[in-house]
């Protein structure tokens, strides 16, 4: 890792914020270590449980703020699945809603200053994306049998082109979990690194530090937007993949 210190106190370490540290005791990290990633994932789950359990406990006709947030999130994902994957996709509503709310809350928790963004780690997003990929593939074969392979055989194309298209489709199918996970992690990581780079400028500029601080504020606003949009994109791509498993013919 390039970590040479430049002179004049001008040192930017934009990637240091993503370091996984053990919270109790030093030493190497084992699978059972309680790290900052564990802590913030736990906090995300706690926040989701609080929102959904406390928010919907009273079930008032005139909802409180918390209840209407919970209802909006529920209705939003429900409608998304219905629009993209059809009525049959609603079987997977609990899974997709879990993904959406976990990614959304993790993204937003990561925006708190000094916090740790779990979704900026490819290890985390790859697990989520691999889960989606395996679910969709296994369910596709379970539901359609060998007809699921029709996904790769583009019957609307000329016959001579079909084998070539089949190879392309096959490759793009297996790249899906990669792009699905890297899109989320990359977006979140890039945004946070940009904020850190600007923070490094602010440290070096002395009296002119106001300029980068204004830009940090602007980038932060953009990051709030990105956090929401990336959770949305992650979920809607899950729905698109699910739709492929449900209706594999081209």
């Amino acid at each position: 890792m390039a970590k040479e210190e430049a002179g004049n106190g001008f040192n930017i370490h934009p990637m240091d914020q993503f370091e996984i540290k053990s919270l109790f005791g030093d030493g190497p990290i084992h699978w059972y270590s309680f790290t900052n990633a564990t802590l913030w994932m736990g906090l995300a789950i706690l926040a989701v449980v609080l929102l959904l359990v406390v928010g919907t406990r009273k079930r008032a006709i005139i909802p409180t703020r918390m209840q209407s947030i919970a209802e909006m999130a529920y209705g939003f994902v429900y409608k998304m699945i219905e629009d993209v994957a059809g009525k049959e996709g609603l079987k997977f509503f609990p899974y997709i809603f879990t993904l959406f709310i976990f990614v959304l809350v993790s993204n937003f928790l990561g925006l708190l200053p000094m916090s740790f963004t779990t979704t900026s780690h490819i290890a985390v997003t790859a697990c989520l994306a691999m889960g989606v990929f395996l679910t969709v593939t296994i369910y596709g074969f379970y539901k359609n049998g060998m007809k699921f392979l029709g996904l790769f055989w583009v019957s609307s194309a000329p016959l001579a082109l079909r084998p070539i298209l089949a190879i392309i489709e096959l490759i793009s199918y297996f790249v899906r979990p990669v792009s699905h996970s890297i899109r989320l992690a990359g977006n979140v990581m890039a945004g946070h690194a940009v904020i850190k780079v600007f923070a490094g400028f602010a440290g070096a500029l002395g009296i002119w530090a106001a300029l980068p601080i204004i830009s940090i504020t602007a980038v932060y606003g953009l990051e709030v937007l990105v956090a929401g949009i990336q959770a949305y994109v992650f979920t809607i791509l899950t729905c698109v993949y699910l739709n492929d498993a449900l209706h594999p013919s081209h």
């Binding site: 899109r183 949009i229 994109v233």
Partner: protein, 78 residues
């Protein structure tokens, strides 16, 4: 002016990888711009197509994220 030639290649490669992000920028701009021009012609149909818009943007953007990842790998992992 002393240094490691591998490190030189690492930095140059990371810089070159960033060109790919420009391609992603063009792609995302094309998707959003065409959506807007279509949406202004037929605003009634635009609302139902926002999901398609975001899917298109996500696919166009993924390749830019790949090049960003290559740059990151060259800088920090190689």
């Amino acid at each position: 002016m002393e240094g490691n030639i591998a490190e030189l290649g690492q930095y140059i490669g990371a810089g070159l990888a960033c060109i790919g992000m420009g391609g992603a920028g063009i792609g995302v701009g094309t998707v959003a711009g065409n959506f807007l021009s279509g949406a202004l012609r037929n605003p009634a149909a635009a609302g139902a197509q926002t999901a398609t818009l975001f899917i298109g943007i996500a696919f166009a953007e993924a390749l830019g994220i790949f090049s960003f990842l290559v740059a990151l790998l060259l800088m920090f992992a190689v």
